[in-house]
Structure formats: C-alpha cells, structure tokens
C-alpha cells in the first residue's frame, strides 16, 4: 500500500459565503411544462427521473404550461394569492412584535408561502398535517383564526395552549394541524402512523408529513420512509428544501445525492421534485400525491425547491454565514409575485387590486394584533393562570403533581 495517497476528509461547502457575489446561473432549472405527468397509479420504479428534475408550471411570461397546468381555476388561484399574502403580512407583524420585545421568539416562512398554502388546498376536511414550524400557511389556508395564532405567539391569557409552548408551536385538530414539536423530524413518522391508522380503520383520510431539508438527516426520516414503504401508508411526505438549516447549507444533509427527492427511490416511493415557489405546480403535484394516497396507491415523497429568505428564527442572523443578496439571486423568484403576475396576465387581477388587497390584509392583521394584545403579551398584561402549568401532564392530575401545585402555591 505504499502507493496509496493519504486520505483526507471531504467537507462540503456552500458556493457562496458573506462577501461573495452569489451567482446561481449554474443551477439547472428545467423549463416550465417540460416534466411529464404520470398517472397517479404509476409504478414508482418508472418515474425515477422525476426525482432529479423540477416540475414547474408557470413560465417566465406568467403562463401556465405543460401537463401539470390546468388543475386550478382562477377563483382558487385568487384565494391562493390571498392566503400567501395573509401569511406574509402575519409573519411581518409577528416579527416586529418579537423585535419589540412582545414575545420571545418568532419564525417566518418568507419566500416559502406557496408550499403550505397550495398544499392545504389539495387536502380534504379530516386529513391531517404533521407540520414543522414553518407551515403557518397550512393553518391560515385552513381558516384557523389568526387571532388565536397571535394569542399563542404572545403566550397570553387566551393562548390556546395555555402559555405552555414556545411561539409558533400551534395546534388544531379541527384544522388538520398536528401540534408542532420542537424536536425535529419526530412528526414525520407520526404522520405515517396516523395514515396507517386510517388504513387500518378503512377510512378515506390521508396524512401529510412535513420536514425541512436539514432535518431529512434525522433518523426519524428513515423510520418514516421504512414504515410508509412497507405498509403503503396513505401519506404524503413533504420535504421543504429551503436551502438552509440555520447556518448549514443543504449540501451537509444531502451529501453526495443529487436531490432530496432521490432519497425516496431506495424505498420504492414515487419521488417528485417541484418548484416550491410556483403555487400552481405545488398545487398540481400535491393533488397528484393526495389522490394517489387516497385511492390506495400509497405514499409519495415530494421535495419542494425553495429558499428561506428570512433568518432561521428571530434568534438568528444569516448575514454571518451567507451573502446578504443571496435571496435576490435565487433563481426561482418570489411565490407571491409569480402568482400575482400569472393572474394579472390572465386578466383576473391587476397591480391596483393587488396593492389594495395588500393594504386591506395588512390592516386586518394589524387590527387583530391589537385585539390579541388586549389578551396580553409575553411580558405584560393578562397571562394564562399559572395552575394551568400543572394540568394536562396527565388526563387526571396524580397526587405528586397535586402536592407540587400546592407547594408552588398556584
């Protein structure tokens, strides 16, 4: 072995770091309309190519083209635009509220709104999402009261989770939104279990799991794929690839694979990759996978290609690890702008109506915020009663907790 050169550790690095001029011209973006649309009962082994491409519907001119186009009518698309604008306005407000010290923490979905908003529209009542902390779009699209979201973010007296949880950790069974966990990836396999239960009971409901690019590295991602593959659970497994996991670029989780969607191939799962900033494409692909699951053809893995425009959370400062202009250079554009342009081109929307709608949504949100703040904010005003912290650890409070509650004097 004398001729063997010393090994060295390969450590992947993002192309651009602060100070660099980001240039994504090397990233291959397939033309809108260029990726085929198989039948929903296709044999997964026949569509490996879909894991290595990007399904896109809206072209640069704002037209919807190709086999994945035509799944959404104008009214629905207009609703979608409104959903995204609402999410964005809500995020902006809550970010400011956190910066003003009204709560401890907040997480934006800026730039990723299309994914959750369009996906939710593809579901039916009774279906269940197992989301991460960046899918507020699911809740808002499902019609969950924004006031309650704010109450949760403020941990105030009307907080639906009684002040127990960090901001953004929403829950609403009624709206098909499973209680968010702070621990990454755990929900992905729970989604599979929920879907298995639906199949066990001969139900027609399906589940959707959500995970970030970075979190696909977690082991529960594997557990989810194994169980989904083995029992052909009626579940849609969504990977939101927003390029970053806090300060860590997606290459650290992805490794040598070309895409995250490819992870599904070794499980015999249909694995699709879609332009996450293209509302129409997200909807069409989501609908395909939802139908596939509901008709008994089993799970689908979807990678949404997008970009995390904001910081990871309010505790984060991305300028320390990526070029400030990187999000502008990002080639897939802004989901709100793109859907807006599509609708304008179709003649059902206009810049004016958009500006109007934006102003109106923002003022609604501002109004709601005022209302929410009447119920208190984290550090001032009414709070949930402290004894609530001893409740619901168990259905009935055991003696040791009764004693502790007494000791705490609450």
């Amino acid at each position: 072995m004398n001729d063997v050169a010393p090994l060295s550790l390969y450590v992947p690095e993002p192309e651009f770091r602060p100070g660099d001029e980001p240039d994504f011209s090397g990233v291959k973006i397939p033309q809108a309309g260029s990726v085929r649309r198989p039948e929903i009962d296709v044999d997964p082994e026949e569509i490996h190519d879909l894991a290595y491409s990007i399904i896109r519907v809206m072209n640069r001119e704002g037209e919807a083209v190709g086999p994945w186009a035509g799944y959404l009518d104008d009214d629905e698309a207009l609703k979608g635009l409104r959903d995204m604008m609402t999410v964005r306005a809500y995020d902006a407000r809550m970010l400011t509220a956190q910066r003003q010290g009204k709560t401890s923490f907040y997480m934006l979905s800026l730039g990723e709104e299309a994914i959750a908003c369009a996906f939710q529209r593809a579901l039916s009542p009774g279906d269940m999402n197992f989301p991460t902390y960046r899918q507020q779009g699911l809740l808002i699209t499902a019609g969950y009261p924004i006031l309650d979201m704010m109450n949760q973010v403020y941990s105030n007296s009307k907080d639906p989770v009684a002040g127990r949880q960090l901001p953004v950790m929403y829950t609403s069974k009624k709206h098909g939104f499973f209680t968010i966990s702070g621990n990454l990836a755990t929900q992905f396999v729970q989604a599979v279990g929920w879907a298995m239960a639906s199949a066990i009971r001969g139900d027609t409901k399906i589940a959707a799991g959500w995970i970030g690019d970075g979190s696909t590295a977690e082991s529960d991602f594997h557990a989810a794929l194994v169980f989904a593959s083995t029992y052909r659970a009626p579940v849609v497994l969504n990977i939101v690839n927003n390029q970053w996991a806090i300060s860590t670029y997606q290459g650290i989780a992805r490794g040598r694979a070309a895409t995250f969607a490819a992870r599904g191939l070794g499980f015999g799962l249909p694995s699709l990759r879609v332009d996450g900033n293209d509302y129409l494409a997200v909807y069409a692909v989501a609908k395909w996978a939802v139908e596939r699951a509901r008709r008994g053809h089993g799970p689908t893995l979807i990678e949404y290609v997008t970009y995390r425009v904001g910081p990871h959370s309010t505790s984060d400062d991305p300028s320390a690890y990526r070029p400030q202009k990187e999000s502008d250079a990002w080639p897939l554009g802004d989901p709100v702008e793109r859907l807006k342009n599509y609708l304008i081109r179709k003649g059902v929307w206009s810049e004016e109506r958009h500006a109007q709608a934006k102003a109106q949504i923002e003022s609604e949100i501002a109004q709601l915020q005022k209302e929410a703040e009447k119920n208190g904010t984290l550090h001032s005003g009414p709070k949930p009663p402290p004894r609530r912290m001893f409740e619901d650890v168990y259905k009935e409070m055991p003696l040791h907790l009764v004693r502790q509650r007494q000791e705490a004097g609450v």
Partner: protein
C-alpha cells in the same frame, strides 16, 4: 378463572381488549405471524387479522412513532419492544413526544398508547437482554410506568394500561414469565399454576394504575419492591424471619404515596429493592419519598438493595442480581440500625 402463566395472562389482556375494542392494535418486531419472541401475542394475528396484529420493521423509534400517530388518530395501539434494552432508539419518541402531546396541545391531541417491554435479568441474557430502565421513564413527566409481579396483576394492569388515556410503559419482568422466581437460581421454580396469583379471570377486569398491593403484612420493616424483587423479598422475609411488610408498588408513576407512607410510619424502617443499577435508580426516588414523608418515624437508615452500577455481566449474573441473601442481609441490618 384459569391458571395462567404471566405470558398467557398478558396475551389474554390483549385478546380481551382487541375483542372489546376495534381500536386496539398490536404490533412490534416478530409480533405478528410468530407471536413474539416470548410468544405474548401468539394467535392474535390469526384471530384479529393482519391489520390489527402485525410484524414491524426493526425500528423502535418507528414503532413508537407510528403508534403515537395511530393513537392521535384515535386508535389504542399496544406495541411491543422486544427487550427493554432496545427501547433506547425510541426514547425520543417516548419521552419528548408521547409524554408531551397532551400537554403541549392543551388536550387537543392525546396518546392513549401502551408500550410493552420485557425487563430485568436472571435469564443469562447479558448486558443487552437484562436491563431495568424504569427510572428513565419515571423521571419523565407525562408517562405512566407499570411493572407487574404476577399473572393476575399483569392482566388487570395491562387492560388498565390499554384503556388508559395516557401513554403507559408496561414493563414485564421476563424472569417471571413462567413462574414466581424468588432469586434461588439453583432451585427449580414453582410454575404459576401453583401460585394463587396464577389464578386469572377469563374476561375483562381492571387493576387500577397507581395502587400498590401489600403482599405480606408485617410490623418490623417495610420493603418497597416491584416485579421480580417482590418474590425475592418474600423469600428473604421468610428465610430471615424478619416480620417485613412487603409492598408491591405495581405502578411506579403514579406512585401510591399513601401506601408507602402509612407502612413506613408504622414500621419505622424501610428497605428498598430493585434490580436496576443503583445510582439514580427508582430506589433513589423512593429514598426521597420515604425521607420526605416519614423522616420523624424512621428508626434506622433506609437501605437500598439494587443491581450494581455496572452492566449486567453474563458470567456473574447472580453476583449482580439482588437475590434473597442480599435482601435478607439488608433486612437484618435495618433491624439493627
């Protein structure tokens, strides 16, 4: 009424629950066709179908994670971890998810799930088939932890666990599966058939979680034990002649404080016995509970008799195991103190 082994009693509990409630499903590694490596689920697949009793992939996090999802959906999964020693990959799902979902969602979602696992040593299983990890569950709020010591309790408690609306860890002392082993490894074990607690009603009954049972009344010293150690304590009391009051805790969370406190206040002395390693074992908590509740009644230091702070060694199983000799010595010592 029938005489049953603990395995049969456990199987009967699942059978009764599956029969009464379609939402009960049972799965785990080798649990389906084969019926589990200890045969606790034998026959259930045949009786209830593959969709209600099936083999799972070898992924404990996946078993518990999917069970959580099922419970959230509205089922009542009762899953098996092949050995308690292999629950660690599921520890995140158990402690950070199952245990927290009711609380964090303010009752919006709940997890009525039971996780069965064989526990304890005495079968020459070495360090990865002999562990007693109950303290690792007891420290985690939101979980209930049950450890039966006989077939009658095993069935009644397992039915209670499956019907409970919170996640329950159900630890089955594997050394007791076939008989009331008292630590005399060199003597034949009486089968459960010959033990009164091997009498098990056929149908549905419930032993409530959180209630201890007094196995032997006594005046001199209180022995706190659970699982296999109950039988060891009985043997030790008999052999030493110390008039011990032996309390079988049965459920360690919730704990039967009243039973413990009443007994120790009466006897003024206490010996705590468990098979798990000592440091920060559940015996430590019992020490604290006794001290907090009965300090002024104590006439001698409480003594812990436990497994040592080493892995469970294959060749020296019986040096590790807290057998009747060690428990007996503690009984005598506490009487001198």
């Amino acid at each position: 009424m029938a005489r049953m082994t603990m395995i049969e009693a456990i199987r009967s509990a699942m059978d009764v629950c599956m029969e009464r409630d379609e939402r009960v499903v049972v799965y785990g590694e080798d649990v389906g066709y084969f019926g589990g490596v200890f045969r606790c689920t034998q026959g259930l697949q045949k009786k209830y179908g593959k969709h209600r009793c099936f083999d799972s992939p070898i992924n404990e996090s996946g078993i518990v994670g999917t069970a959580i999802g099922m419970a959230v959906y509205g089922l009542r999964p009762c899953v098996e971890i092949q050995f308690a020693d292999y629950m660690y990959p599921a520890y995140d799902q158990l402690t950070q998810e199952a245990a927290r979902i009711r609380y964090r969602s303010n009752n919006d979602f709940t997890v009525p799930m039971t996780v069965r696992m064989p526990t304890g040593g005495g079968i020459f299983g070495g360090q990865t088939h002999s562990q007693s990890p109950e303290a690792l569950f007891a420290h985690v709020c939101g979980l209930k932890t049950v450890i039966p010591s006989n077939p009658y309790d095993a069935k009644g408690l397992l039915i209670a666990a499956i019907e409970d609306d919170d996640p329950v860890i159900f630890l089955e002392p594997k050394r007791l599966y076939n008989g009331p082993f008292d630590g005399h490894y060199d003597q034949p074990v009486t089968p459960w058939k010959k033990h009164p607690l091997g009498e098990v009603p056929d149908g549905h009954y419930v032993e409530p979680l959180g209630k201890a049972a007094i196995r032997r009344e006594g005046e001199d010293v209180t022995v706190l034990a659970y699982g296999t150690m109950v039988h060891v304590a009985e043997a030790a009391a008999k052999e030493t002649g110390v008039d011990a009051e032996i309390i079988d805790l049965r459920t360690i969370v919730p704990l039967d404080f009243e039973a413990i406190e009443a007994s120790v206040r009466k006897t003024g002395r206490c010996v705590i016995v468990h098979e798990a390693t000592r440091t920060c074992g559940f015996g430590a908590e019992l020490m604290a509970v006794v001290q907090e509740g009965c300090f002024y009644h104590l006439e001698a230091p409480v003594i812990r008799v436990t497994g040592w702070d080493t892995p469970y060694p294959h060749a020296h199983e019986w040096t590790y195991f807290p057998g009747p000799a060690r428990v007996g010595a503690a009984l005598k010592k506490v009487m001198e103190g």
